[in-house]
Every structure is written in structure tokens, then in C-alpha cells.
């Protein structure tokens, strides 16, 4: 028992690449009608709920592909430090340019998304790019169900990068993961894992200038472990 616990890993350094499905989650910013109370019409001029579309997109984000690469240092039998890079495919953001706010004290004042975001094209649509990096502490444990199969959790700090016509943002947040690792032989292993990066939102008239999406990914990695045969 002691021998197992205290043995340093024979192959502590590893690199890996992989790919999978990514989800660029803009749900917190996508405009929605409220169903709290019956919709109240403002003298039939417009639906007050439409006002949310002026600052928030009608559709945004969604599923895309994810490419990953990592370097890891396993400093004990069951813990390692790992840095991952995730590249996610571009996703679309669509504003509804027809929705407007008509301000009651000044009824002739009509505000559309174009007033809030002058950078928007006429059709209100643009693509947004995201990638992310992290540094995590990884805990792994043998499952005992299948030989050479470990379960692991990842916890650490991540940086999410958003780049599009409205914003160019790097945002630090938490990153968390859960997965399975299968050791094929002393030099090669494969992971199947889920990774989550926290995002950011701000209560301002123009939240799309500040929003950082929450990123999720399910991916498969192939890892090479350096060391003697």
C-alpha cells in the first residue's frame, strides 16, 4: 500500500491533443419575454417586452466544435498540474433590428439596437470567436471497475477570450472538469472529459459589449507521456 502511494510517477510529463463538442453559452444574454405577469401593452404602440431586444441579442452562441491541447505534470500518483487550451469554432450572434423602445416621456424617441450598438451591420448579425486557456489541479483515482481506468476532477483558473465586432475581451474565471482516463500503455493514454469555464455578465444598457460566454466542452484526448520505456 505504502509503496503504491509513495511511488513517483515514472512518466510525469505528458502532452495531449484532442477534439470534441463545444457549447458557447450566451443564454444569460439572449432576450426572452417575461412570463411573470400578463403582457401589458403600452397603448397598443408596442410590446414593453420588446425593449429587452434593444440591448440583448435575439439568438446567440450554440454548439460548435472544440479542439484542445494540453501539457501536464503529474507530481504525485494521484495529482497533477495541467494547462489546457481550447479553440472553439465561431458562433453567430443575431440582433433583432426591428424591435425598439419607445420611451413614454418622449414618445417620439425610438431606440433600436443600432442606437445602442452602432457597430452592428444592417442585418444585426455577426460571428463571434472564443478560445480559452486554463491552469488546473487534477485529482485522479482508479475506478477499480476496469483496470487502468481512472476517474478525475479538474479545478483551477481559466481565461476566456471573446473576439468579435462588439468586443475583444479576456476574462479570468473559474474552470472545472470531470472525466475518465484510460492508460493504453506506459506512454499513451486517452481521456474523455467535460470542461466548464465560467463567464461574465454586466447590468448595463449595452451588455453585449461586456458579456463573456460560459463555455462547456465534451472532448476526447490522446496523450503522450514522456519517460523511459
Amino acid at each position: 500500500m505504502m509503496g503504491t502511494l509513495c511511488a513517483m510517477p515514472a512518466h510525469p510529463f505528458s502532452i495531449g491533443i484532442g477534439g470534441g463538442i463545444g457549447w458557447v453559452n450566451w443564454n444569460a444574454l439572449v432576450a426572452q419575454y417575461s412570463d411573470t405577469d400578463p403582457i401589458i401593452s403600452d397603448e397598443h404602440l408596442y410590446n414593453p417586452d420588446d425593449g429587452i431586444y434593444v440591448g440583448s441579442p435575439a439568438k446567440a452562441g450554440g454548439n460548435t466544435y472544440a479542439l484542445t491541447a494540453h501539457v501536464a505534470w503529474q507530481f504525485s500518483q494521484h495529482m497533477s498540474l495541467q494547462s489546457d487550451y481550447f479553440y472553439l469554432g465561431d458562433t453567430a450572434v443575431q440582433f433583432d433590428m426591428n424591435k425598439m423602445v419607445i420611451h413614454l416621456p418622449i414618445p417620439q424617441t425610438k431606440i433600436t439596437a443600432k442606437n445602442i450598438y452602432p457597430e452592428l451591420p444592417a442585418d444585426g448579425r455577426f460571428t463571434t470567436h472564443n478560445d480559452a486557456m486554463d491552469l488546473t489541479l487534477k485529482f485522479n483515482a482508479p475506478t477499480t471497475l476496469i483496470k487502468h481506468l481512472d476517474v478525475f476532477t479538474d479545478l483551477g483558473l481559466g481565461v476566456v477570450h471573446r473576439h468579435d465586432i462588439l468586443a475583444h475581451i479576456y476574462r479570468i474565471g473559474g474552470t472545472f472538469g470531470l472525466g475518465l482516463n484510460y492508460r493504453i500503455n506506459p506512454h499513451w493514454s486517452t481521456d474523455c472529459a467535460f470542461m466548464y469555464f465560467t463567464g461574465y455578465d454586466r447590468s448595463v444598457p449595452d451588455p453585449a459589449h461586456y458579456f463573456t460566454p460560459f463555455l462547456d466542452s465534451i472532448y476526447v484526448n490522446l496523450n503522450y507521456h514522456f519517460g523511459p520505456a
Binding site: 411573470t36 494521484h78 431606440i111 476517474v151
Partner: protein, 236 residues
């Protein structure tokens, strides 16, 4: 010199990160079930919904102060969301490094202050019909979670570090809303035996919440929770 340094690092790491005796081995006669109570300090992060400042310049039409202040019609102007949590937990450790933990926590109360001076329209227009006249209300959140914990003994002590991932049900209840969501829970912490029957726990946890872009987001918000807990459990 390089080889010496490499062996020195290896020895230090081996001594500091590999426990000679695991907690499981030390307590192998105990039941795998523990029951405990916990408390903690954390935030429900309502301040994330509070009106913030935008540094972008607006076109003349939207620079109208009524529009700039419009966001205050629907979101709080301040929130006091940090406080004390209390709860209980049940742990099942079927394997030396793997355990499952169910936790209930009554999370810190949050005091939310809406800006009633900005409500120059009937409150019903903004769906905040249940707001008191002073625009102030207290929100409570309960968390029920089930998580997988993977632990690693540390140094020559019987302390072990762990990472945990799981699912949670967050339930918010106040005068504005009573609603719950399924969310994710992530955490990291330490377990330590206090006696042959008692274990101590220190952990940091993060619960994902829910936010919605509506004209009345206060009615839909479910807190994103960051919390540091300490607890003590008894081996059944």
C-alpha cells in the same frame, strides 16, 4: 548538479505529497458512512445583477438619461449578498479515494434594494408588482447537492485534499419569486480526522446559477454561489 537537483526535487515531492498512511487505512474499521454539520461564509453573487457602469459612448438618441437609467427600472441598485451558511452532509466512501457526498445548505441571505425613484412608470409595467414601497426585500436560497469527491492524502499527516464535481438543486424563495434550477457544483478542499470517530472538513464550492435577459431579471435570477465551508462529521 542537475541530476542532484532532480533527485532533491523528487525526494521533496515524494515526502510532501505522498502520505504513508491513508485515512482510509487508518480508519478501515469505520463505516464508510459519515454524517456531519457544516457552516460557512459565502456570497450569492446578487451584485452581479446590480446596475453597473458602461464606458461606451452612446448615440445621441440612446444617450437620453432616461434610457441610460432605464436599466435601473429592472435591476437592483444595490445588493448585500455576503453572509453565513449552515447545513448538513452525508458522505459515503466506498473506495479509499472516491466518495459521494450529499449536502444541504441554507445559503447566505441577500438583501436586495431596487431603486424606486427610477420607477417613474407604474410598477406593474416592470412586473415588480410584489415589491414593497421601499423597494427592499430579502432573498433566501437553499442548495441541495450530490457530488463525487476524489481525494489524495497529503504529506505525513492524515489530511487529504479533494476535488469534487456534482449536481445541485438551487431553490430561491422571496417575495418576488419562488423557483429552483438544476445546476452544477464544483469544489476543492481538505478532509482531516479529528478523532477515531470524527472528521473535519474545509472546502470551497461554486454553484452555477441562472440569469435571464428579460425586462424583469430579478424575477428569474438564481444565485451563482461561492462559499467556503467548515464542517465536522461522525463515522456511523
Amino acid at each position: 548538479m542537475m541530476i542532484g537537483a532532480r533527485y532533491f526535487i523528487r525526494i521533496v515531492l515524494t515526502l510532501s505529497l505522498c502520505a504513508p498512511v491513508s485515512i482510509y487505512a487508518a480508519n478501515k474499521n469505520n463505516s464508510p458512512w459519515h454524517i456531519g454539520i457544516l457552516t460557512g461564509i459565502g456570497t450569492t453573487n446578487w451584485h452581479g445583477l446590480v446596475k453597473s457602469h458602461s464606458s461606451y459612448s452612446f448615440t445621441p438618441a440612446s444617450a437620453d438619461p432616461h434610457i441610460r437609467n432605464g436599466v435601473l427600472h429592472s435591476v437592483p441598485k444595490s445588493a448585500d449578498d455576503t453572509g453565513v451558511a449552515v447545513g448538513a452532509y452525508l458522505t459515503w466512501q466506498p473506495l479509499p479515494r472516491i466518495s459521494f457526498q450529499a449536502v444541504y445548505q441554507h445559503l447566505p441571505s441577500a438583501t436586495i434594494q431596487m431603486d424606486m425613484t427610477k420607477l417613474n412608470l407604474p410598477p406593474s409595467y416592470y412586473r415588480h408588482t410584489r415589491l414593497p414601497k421601499d423597494g427592499r426585500f430579502v432573498s433566501q436560497t437553499e442548495a441541495f447537492s450530490l457530488s463525487l469527491k476524489i481525494s489524495q492524502p497529503i504529506a505525513h499527516t492524515s489530511i487529504s485534499a479533494f476535488g469534487q464535481v456534482g449536481g445541485a438543486h438551487l431553490y430561491r424563495h422571496d417575495i418576488m419569486a419562488k423557483r429552483g434550477v438544476l445546476s452544477a457544483l464544483f469544489g476543492v478542499g481538505f478532509n482531516m480526522p479529528l478523532s477515531s470517530k470524527l472528521d473535519g472538513l474545509v472546502m470551497f464550492s461554486y454553484y452555477t446559477g441562472d440569469d435571464r435577459a428579460t425586462v424583469d431579471p430579478v424575477n428569474y435570477y438564481i444565485p451563482y454561489v461561492y462559499i467556503v465551508n467548515v464542517g465536522v462529521s461522525y463515522h456511523l
